[in-house]
Subunit: 189 residues, 2 copies
């Protein structure tokens, strides 16, 4: 799907509006292992994932990589913490496979809000989603066991199992890769 | 300030729009100790605080009260976690003094978005603020010392010191009330 099709799911646009907004996106192809956003840079863009999958990766003090989010085709990608506060990103956003992403810079996004006030709905939806994801992750890490977090992730994003390496899934759940194998075996068998 | 004045700071409205939107708010007076939102209820409203101050309070497993947020006149109040996900609130939102709050129910808020698409900006701003607050609090609790969290809170909301009981401030910072006294003495002296 194109970003315009995705926007049209919750904002109705005229032909002229579609043409103008579409012209502000830039289509980027990023190969597997490439970065949509680099650690230490200020995030100044949002993107619509046409194809591929991405992993948000933090580095702990011992140099381990910890996955904090997974995104797939049809998702919007940005790092809200850095985008809104204009502070350097504490994550890398890494392409887990070859990706096609339609990128809208922050300045063009603001232009969209100014020119087409109804497009504020896109901003509201993105911010609300970012909030919900953050709130769920904080709460799950505090309250659920490793197995419960696994089941919750599977329910929300079963595609994760197909696409994302085990190492990243385990780190996202806050458990050891061996524990993840045990949990999976128990559930399957 | 009225909620309409607050909205006009970032959305320009005609006289007719002002009249229509203003009519959807309901002015509520809640006495000190009363609740804007009760634990266990689903939050179905946002409010604009004309006067007074409010404390978000969680109860831990040992029955202790832990403050998770403070709001003051001029702030918007809602519990996004419960509002967006439609799950029961895990906090009480308690009036720390007599409050005047202009309340907009969720159904009327949705009506506002439908009727006046530019009002989506209000929704975007509220969601972005909720996100920033949550992200900062999560990050501060993980990374900063008690003293650093105190300084950060003072910098962001120095009014907290004037208005909020010490017990709640200490619980918000994740420290003992005695530690808060020590930190304050050190900083002052």
């Amino acid at each position: 799907m194109s970003p315009i099709k995705a926007i049209q799911q919750f904002v109705s646009l005229s032909k002229e509006e579609i043409a103008e907004i579409a012209s502000l996106f830039e289509k980027k192809e990023i190969v597997k292992g490439g970065r949509f956003l680099e650690y230490g840079k200020i995030c100044d863009k949002v993107g619509y994932i046409e194809s591929g999958s991405l992993i948000f990766v933090k580095h702990d003090s011992e140099g381990n990589q910890i996955a904090t989010d997974f995104l797939f085709d049809g998702d919007w990608v940005s790092y809200y913490n850095s985008l809104l506060l204009e502070i350097p990103s504490d994550v890398d956003i890494i392409c887990n496979e070859d990706c096609v992403i339609h990128v809208l810079t922050k300045s063009k996004l603001e232009l969209v809000y100014e020119s087409f006030p109804k497009m504020e709905r896109l901003g509201r939806m993105l911010a609300e989603h970012a909030f919900i994801d953050l709130a769920k992750r904080s709460s799950n890490l505090q309250k659920l066991s490793g197995k419960e977090r696994y089941l919750d992730l599977m329910q929300r994003k079963s595609i994760v199992l197909e696409k994302i390496p085990q190492y990243y899934i385990a780190s996202y759940l806050g458990i050891q890769p061996q524990s993840l194998s045990r949990i999976r075996k128990k559930i399957l068998g």
